[in-house]
C-alpha cells in the first residue's frame, strides 16, 4: 500500500543527493551566510553527531553532501566568526518552530496516534504558521522573514538585522507574545476594552483564540469545568464567536453567549468566559517548540535536504502568506523517486478523509 510518510532507504538517499539535489536549491539566505554557519550531519539516523563543519564555498558543501548522502543535514541559526569552534557569535536568526506532530487540539485524534502526522495536522500547522507570519510582519515590522516546510511542520526564520542581535531573554518575551501565552484579567483586559485593539498583544491573543475555538470539543469544555449550559452555548455559537470576537474584534460581552458571563458553579470565582479565554492561552503555549526560539546556538534542518524519516523534502516556501497558502507538502515537498507513491497515497487519503480537512 502506498504511504504518505515513510523512512527512505540509503539507496534512495544516495539517489536523491546525486540526481535530484544540488546546492542551487538552497535558499539565498543560507548561501549568503554560508561561511558563518555551522553545519551538522546525521549519517545514521541517530541524530546529528557530526557537527561543527564549515563550508567556505557552496561547491564544497555540494561535494560533501553528494559524497556522503547523509540521513539529515542541519545548519546553525547562529552566525559565527569562527563557526568551526562556534565562537565569535555574530547573531542568530529568530526562529519559530511549529511541529505538526506535537500540536494540541488535534482534529484528527480519531485517525492516528499522537506523535504521528497526517494532512490535517499539517494543515493546522500551516494555519498557525500563517498567523505567526502575519504577526511578525504587521506587529514587529519584520521584512526579512522566511517560511520553510520542515518535513513535519514549519520553521519561520527571521533574519532582520535587529532580530539577529536579540538575546535569549528578549526572544523569550517575543515568544510569549507570539504564542499569546499571557493570561487575561477581566478588569484590566476585557472590561477596559483592551481586548478589542486592532494591533499588539490583544490581536495576537484573538488570532490564537480563533484557532482554539474552531477546534475545541465538548470533552475539552468539560475538562475546563464549564457547566452543561455553558458547554452547549459555546458549541452552538462557535462560528458567531469566531466572526465577531476574532475577526471583527467585538467585545466578548457581545460576542459570547450570556451564560458564559457567570461562574460555572456556585462558589467558583471565575466566569465561564475567563475560563475559556485563559484555556486558549494554556493551549497556545504548546503550538511552538520554545527551545528553538530561545536557543541562539541551535541547528535546524537545511532547506532542500531530505527528511529521511518521513521521506519528504525540507522545502523553502518563501516570504509571503500567499506562497504559504498555496504550498502543499504532498505535491511541493516530494522527492522525484516518491512522486507516484505519494500522489497515490494522497489521493487515497483525500478520498477517505478529505471532508474532514
Amino acid at each position: 500500500m502506498a504511504e504518505l510518510f515513510r523512512e527512505v532507504t540509503e539507496r534512495e538517499r544516495k539517489h536523491y543527493y546525486s540526481k535530484e539535489w544540488s546546492a542551487k536549491k538552497l535558499p539565498e539566505f543560507i548561501v549568503r551566510t554560508l561561511e558563518e554557519r555551522e553545519f551538522g550531519f546525521d549519517h545514521t539516523g541517530e541524530g546529528p553527531n557530526d557537527r561543527k563543519n564549515v563550508f567556505m564555498d557552496v561547491r564544497d558543501l555540494e561535494d560533501y553532501v553528494r559524497a556522503t548522502a547523509p540521513y539529515a543535514i542541519y545548519s546553525s541559526v547562529a552566525l559565527y566568526e569562527e563557526p568551526k569552534d562556534m565562537s565569535g557569535w555574530l547573531g542568530a536568526e529568530l526562529v519559530f518552530d511549529i511541529d505538526a506532530k506535537d500540536l494540541p487540539l488535534r482534529r484528527c485524534a480519531h485517525l492516528h496516534e499522537h506523535g504521528q502526522v497526517c494532512p490535517i495536522c499539517l494543515e493546522d500547522a500551516k494555519e498557525l504558521a500563517r498567523d505567526t507570519l502575519i504577526i511578525l510582519k504587521e506587529d514587529f515590522g519584520f521584512e526579512n522573514v522566511h517560511v520553510v516546510y520542515s518535513g513535519r511542520g514549519y520553521h519561520i526564520r527571521v533574519l532582520d538585522e535587529w532580530a539577529l542581535r536579540l538575546d535569549g531573554k528578549a526572544r523569550e518575551k517575543i515568544l510569549a507574545y507570539i504564542s499569546a501565552a499571557e493570561e487575561l484579567n477581566y478588569k484590566r483586559d476585557i472590561d477596559s476594552n483592551m481586548i478589542m485593539l486592532s494591533s499588539g498583544y490583544y490581536r495576537v491573543f484573538r488570532l490564537r483564540f480563533g484557532y482554539f475555538i474552531k477546534r475545541i470539543s465538548k470533552s475539552h469544555l468539560e475538562n475546563f469545568g464549564l457547566s452543561p449550559r455553558q458547554i452547549q452555548d459555546t458549541i452552538e455559537n462557535k462560528e458567531k464567536i469566531y466572526q465577531e470576537f476574532v475577526l471583527n474584534a467585538k467585545s466578548p460581552n457581545v460576542s459570547f453567549p450570556s451564560s458564559l458571563k457567570r461562574p460555572p458553579r456556585k462558589g467558583k470565582k471565575r466566569s465561564g468566559l475567563m475560563i475559556l479565554l485563559n484555556a486558549s492561552s494554556t493551549f497556545s503555549k504548546a503550538y511552538f517548540d520554545g527551545r528553538v526560539t530561545v536557543d541562539v546556538k541551535r541547528i535546524l534542518r537545511l532547506p532542500s535536504s531530505l527528511h529521511s524519516k518521513v521521506g519528504l523534502i525540507a522545502t523553502y516556501i518563501g516570504p509571503s502568506e500567499k506562497k504559504l497558502e498555496r504550498f502543499n507538502p504532498f505535491k511541493d515537498a516530494v522527492p522525484g523517486f516518491r512522486k507516484e507513491e505519494v500522489r497515490e497515497a494522497y489521493e487515497e487519503w483525500v478520498e477517505e478523509h478529505g471532508d474532514e480537512m
Binding site: 565562537s87 532580530a163 507574545y177 485593539l197 498583544y201
Partner: protein
C-alpha cells in the same frame, strides 16, 4: 542638561574639553569636593534643592562627571548605587519639568497624529471616559514611540503591557520615563566600567571624593548594610564568576594552563576574595588581611584543584609553578610565604578582557552578562551588585507575606 549621556552631552565633552579624560583632569580645578557631593547629599531627606534642577549645562556635566570619576575606585559598590539613584532622580525630575523626553540617550520619538488607528486610541487613551479628570486622561496619552529592537534591550516587563504596531512600541509619558531610567542606569554602569580602566591615572581628588561618598552611602544604606552586608570582601560566589574563570576552574589543556591558572585564576580569585575594589594599583595582600589563612585555606586549594583538572595536571609536571602562584600574589618567588613578604613582588591584577581574548581566546566565551564589561573582576562585582539588588527587592517587595 536633560541627559548626561545624550549626544548633546557627548558633543559638549568633546568640543569644550577635548574628551572624557581631559574633562576628568580639569574637574578638580573647577569643582570642589563639597560642591560635587551636593548632588547626592539631599537623598536622605528626599528634598531636592532647586539649584540642582536649574544648573547650567557645563556646571552640570562637571559635577556629574566628578562623581563618576570617584566611582572608578569602586564600581558596583554602594557608592555607585547612591550616585546612580540620586542622579537618576535629578534628571528624571528635570525631564518631567521640561515636559518632553526628547534629546536624551534613549531613542524615543514623538508620535504623529494618525499613526495609531482612532479606535485603538479611543480604547487606550479612554478618550470618551469623561468621568476621568483631564490630568488622568493626559497620563494615558501615547506620546512616544521607540523601535522594538531598542525597546527590548531595556524593558524588563512583558510585551503585553505595551501597544505594539509596525515594529514600534507606543508609550505613555510614565512608560517612557521608566524606559529612560533603565537606559540611564545602563549608560551609567557602562561609563563606570570605562573609568575603572583609567582609575590609576586620576588625580587624588577623586579618591578623596570616593571616600566621602563612601561615608554618605554607608549612612544612607545603613539599615540595608546591617541586614545583608555589602559587596565587599567576602566568601566567593562561584556561580557568579565570569565564563573565562569558570572555564579555567574546569581545567584546560597544556598550552593554556599557565595563563589560565597562574595568570587569570590566581589574580581573579585573590582580588575577588580579598579586595574586590582596590582603591590603588599597588595594594598588597597584607593591606587586606591580618594573616594568610584565607589565602591558604580558601584561595590556594581552588587554584591547586583547577591545576589538577588540567590535562596534564599542571602541578604534577610543573611543581615549581606553586612558587609562581605566590609570586603572582605578591610574595616573591617562594613556597614558604609569610605575611610580611607581601609586597616583595606585584600582586597581579586580573587581566582585562581584551588581553584574555588576545592571549587565550579559548577562555573567552562571553555570556549576556559580559556585555560592556572590560575586566573579569568588574563582571563579578556587577553580578554581586545585581544579586544584592535582588535580595533587596525580595526583602522589601512581595505581597501577602
Amino acid at each position: 542638561m536633560l541627559d548626561p549621556f545624550s549626544d548633546k552631552a557627548k558633543r559638549l565633552v568633546k568640543e569644550e574639553f577635548g574628551g572624557i579624560t581631559e574633562l576628568l583632569l580639569i574637574i578638580p580645578s573647577y569643582v570642589g569636593i563639597d560642591q560635587a557631593l551636593e548632588r547626592v547629599l539631599w537623598v536622605k531627606s528626599g528634598e531636592m534643592p532647586r539649584d540642582l534642577l536649574e544648573m547650567g549645562d557645563i556646571q552640570d556635566l562637571l559635577t556629574f562627571y566628578a562623581l563618576l570619576g570617584a566611582l572608578a575606585f569602586s564600581p558596583y559598590g554602594i557608592e555607585m548605587e547612591l550616585v546612580k539613584e540620586a542622579n537618576s532622580r535629578i534628571y528624571a525630575k528635570r525631564l518631567r519639568r521640561a515636559g518632553r523626553i526628547s534629546g536624551t540617550a534613549t531613542e524615543l520619538r514623538t508620535v504623529d497624529a494618525g499613526e495609531i488607528p482612532s479606535r485603538d486610541r479611543t480604547i487606550l487613551e479612554r478618550t470618551h471616559h469623561h468621568e476621568l479628570p483631564p490630568d488622568e486622561r493626559d497620563k494615558l496619552r501615547l506620546r512616544y514611540k521607540i523601535h522594538l529592537g531598542k525597546f527590548l534591550e531595556l524593558w524588563e516587563g512583558s510585551l503585553k503591557e505595551v501597544y505594539i504596531r509596525e515594529g514600534y512600541v507606543y508609550l505613555t509619558t510614565e512608560q517612557a520615563l521608566k524606559l529612560w531610567e533603565k537606559s540611564f542606569e545602563r549608560n551609567f554602569e557602562r561609563a563606570v566600567n570605562l573609568l575603572y580602566e583609567v582609575r590609576d591615572e586620576l588625580p587624588s581628588y577623586y579618591l578623596q571624593l570616593y571616600e566621602r561618598l563612601g561615608e554618605i552611602a554607608r549612612e544612607y544604606f545603613k539599615e540595608r548594610l546591617e541586614r545583608m552586608g555589602s559587596a565587599e570582601a567576602g566568601l566567593l560566589r562561584f556561580e557568579l564568576f565570569p565564563p573565562c574563570v569558570k572555564i579555567a576552574l574546569g581545567g584546560v589543556p597544556a598550552g593554556l594552563r599557565n595563563y589560565a591558572i597562574t595568570v587569570l585564576l590566581t589574580s581573579f580569585l585573590s582580588y575577588a576574595r580579598l579586595c574586590p575594589s582596590p582603591s590603588r594599583r599597588d595594594v598588597r595582600i597584607r593591606d587586606c588581611v591580618g594573616d594568610l589563612s584565607v589565602v591558604e585555606k580558601e584561595i590556594l586549594p581552588v587554584i591547586i584543584e583547577a591545576g589538577n583538572r588540567c590535562s596534564p595536571p599542571l602541578f604534577e609536571d610543573q611543581p615549581h609553578e606553586v612558587k609562581n602562584i605566590w609570586y603572582h600574589l605578591g610574595f616573591g618567588l617562594t613556597d614558604k610565604p609569610r605575611l610580611e613578604d607581601s609586597g616583595n613582588s606585584t600582586w597581579y591584577f586580573p587581566p582585562n578582557c581584551s588581553k584574555i581574548r588576545a592571549n587565550a581566546p579559548q577562555l573567552c566565551k562571553p555570556d549576556r552578562h559580559c556585555r560592556n564589561i572590560k575586566n573579569p573582576l568588574t563582571y563579578y562585582l556587577r553580578r554581586l551588585y545585581i544579586e544584592s539588588r535582588k535580595g533587596k527587592q525580595s526583602t522589601e517587595g512581595g505581597e501577602n507575606g
